[in-house]
Amino acid sequence: MSVAMYHFRFDSTGFPLIYIPTVNAYVHFLPITKIQIEYFMSATTEAMFDESWYTSLLSYSERVSPAQVNKSNFTHLFVTGILPREAQRFASWAGRGYSLLTSQEWRAIHDYAASAPPMGDIVAEISQVGALKPRVRAVLEALKKNTSNKIDSLADQMHLTNGILDFVYEDEQQNAFVGHGYRSIVISPTDPQRLANSREGARIKNFGFRLICKE
């Protein structure tokens, strides 16, 4: 077995988190997927997270199975159209120490990952921590095979910039939200994308989230 390049652990649904030294914490390796949201729906006692809520989310981004993923629809593996406060409920359910990222944390993660080399075999690397659940493995393999952009760094493999935007807290006050991850000729992914309603957020087709775990 080779020496691990990065350190991983798993959340309660079996999806991996990666250790990021610049924030001294574990962060979800991928944006939260629809599979994780389905686990949340099953376990939460909050009645609002029911089938009609999920169906409304799917209207923003159709659900695809790993076997159906191609280069144009791979972002449909991730949950989008979710509201920041709903993402907060997910974070509460995920367990002690989990929360949405702040803008500052997101940028620190990006800066580290953008300069870190990509893994040769993501599945093999993560599997050194423990056996991957079959569906988690299938998601990782589908993304590896179908991600359209060239993979230059760990940031690309984490889909920090080549997928959807992450909802984050604008600052430590945690009162307002911005988006991170959009990249264009003139916009850097670390530039916060302002929302029309920064306190409540809004359902936006290409906005998802990931969590940081500080325990």
Binding site: G14, K34, I35, E38, Y39, M41, S42, A43, D50, E51, Y54, L58, R63, S65, P66, A67, Q68, K133, P134, R135, A138
Partner: protein, 465 residues
């Protein structure tokens, strides 16, 4: 649903509505009450003529009647007049020093119905014992007479007197017993997988000199051999410690297995044949009279060695062996009105039970089994999303087959299309609902037939087995 112990059909019976619509027999109210809480234990006893079946049954009855001496709070009940009369009849013969009448072929075999209460931590266990005629195994054509009993029995007791087998001039071996049984099962079209076979060596006093010392020692040390005649103060000194007793019983089963492999003609073939049929196998050894009845005088005090063991093997879950290798999951869309109306899920459950599957029911979108009592009963107030992954991710595709019952579009079914689950998922849906899946059955309310659904489901199970 209650299984009628006489014809083995299933009906909604109650203590006040206890006439079986299929056979017209009155099902004992006590049987109905007890089996609502704990499913009955069906036992079929098979063996060649004069190998000691009826004598062992009598000895077990005597032991059951006296269990309360060593197990606080335990008592028994004979649940119908036939059982009461049969036990008394056999008892009379044994006490008079006569060989009990051999079980003879009967066009309508009746079971013994025995309740055992407050034993092994269970409030009420109900034994339904079919004592098959020895001739059944001389003539396979007669197996059909006992079809229902054989199909439903989880536990099969093969009673073998090795001494009598040695003297058998027809040249039969112990292996022939299982072959006739398996041929019978095949004739009835019933799978054997997951059933518990208990080989009981009877009349062991006749072969005691040939047995390994560990087995001889186990026989001789039976603390309950004189249970019937034991005084209360004697019994108080040896209270029944189920854990220790069963541990020792398991160890002796292994010793007997080794003995069978090494020293019994056809024994190795027998064990391998049972294993290849995916049945569990355990061994017990008894001596139900303590001496040969031919030499016994009337009125002698009988000694019964280890006659408790067959009973314990049968009352333990899965006959005390490994759990069935294959389990079936009913995975139901809780919004599927057609399937959750009435007792359709229960009917499917009953049909799967008849296939000897270890069954659990889940609602889609939920990680935990839906019913603690196993048999589906009602629908949840909460409507879960049509998701199969939450249940499937907890289960092992190497040993599990899933019947998915849905009237909704399942969000995550295709997550499993190229997975190990693909061949193990059988989707049952309504005729007008579009869903593409390799193993799929469309039904409607009018054509709903639980047996047909389960038969089709079993085709994927049996193909992979």
């Amino acid at each position: 649903m209650i299984i009628c112990p006489y014809c083995l059909s299933k009906h909604n019976l109650s203590p006040t509505n206890n006439v079986c619509p299929s056979c017209g027999e009155e099902v004992p109210p006590k049987y109905i009450q007890a089996t609502r809480k704990t499913p009955p234990v069906f036992i079929v006893t098979v063996g060649m003529t004069q190998h000691g079946k009826s004598t062992l049954l009598d000895s077990i009855a005597v032991t059951v009647e006296n269990l309360g001496k060593i197990s606080d709070g335990t008592f028994h009940s004979y649940l119908d007049a036939y059982t009461f009369d049969s036990v008394r009849g056999i008892r009379k013969q044994v006490l008079e020093g006569k060989v009990p009448d051999s079980t003879t072929k009967d066009a309508k075999p009746r079971p013994l119905l025995i309740g055992i209460h407050n034993f092994l931590g269970v409030e009420s266990n109900t034994l339904v014992i079919y004592d098959l005629a020895g001739e059944v195994f001389d003539d396979i054509q007669t197996v059909g007479l006992y079809a229902n009993a054989i199909i439903h029995a989880q536990t099969i007791w093969f009673l073998v007197s090795l001494a009598d087998l040695e003297e058998d001039k027809s040249g039969r071996s112990i292996f022939d017993l299982i072959e006739v049984y398996l041929a019978g099962m095949d004739q009835l079209g019933t799978p054997t997988r997951g059933r518990d076979v208990l080989i009981i060596y009877t009349k062991s006093d006749k072969i005691v000199h040939k047995l390994p010392s560990a087995i001889r020692g186990y026989m001789g040390k039976d603390p309950y051999r004189n249970l019937k005649d034991m005084k209360r103060n004697e019994a108080n000194l040896i209270p029944f410690d189920d854990y220790s007793y069963i541990q020792e019983m398991r160890a002796i089963s292994q010793e007997l297995k080794d003995y069978t492999m090494d020293d019994v003609e056809g024994g190795g073939a027998l064990i391998n044949r049972i294993k290849s049929s995916k049945m569990t196998i355990n061994f017990a050894i008894t001596s139900a009279t303590g001496s040969d009845v031919d030499n016994r005088q009337a009125g002698v005090i009988l000694t019964r060695f280890r006659v408790l063991d067959p009973l314990l093997w049968s009352l333990m879950p899965s006959g005390g062996g490994e759990p069935p290798a294959t389990q079936a999951i009913i995975l139901v869309d809780s919004t599927a009105k057609m399937f959750t109306t009435g007792d359709k899920l229960g009917m499917i459950y009953d049909e799967l039970s008849a296939q000897r599957m270890d069954i659990n029911t889940y609602y889609m979108g939920n990680m935990q089994p839906a019913f603690s009592a196993l048999r589906p009963d009602g629908v949840p107030k909460r409507k879960y999303s049509p998701l199969v992954g939450l249940a499937l991710d907890q289960l092992n595709p190497a040993t599990t087959y899933v019947m998915i019952i849905t009237e909704a579009n399942i969000h995550d079914l295709y997550d499993y299309i190229y997975s190990d689950w693909h061949e193990n998922l059988f989707v049952v849906t309504t005729a007008d609902f579009p869903l593409t899946w390799q193993h799929k059955l469309e039904v409607d309310d009018a054509s709903f037939d639980a047996r047909d659904i389960v038969e089709r489901f079993m085709t994927i199970v049996l193909r992979k087995d």
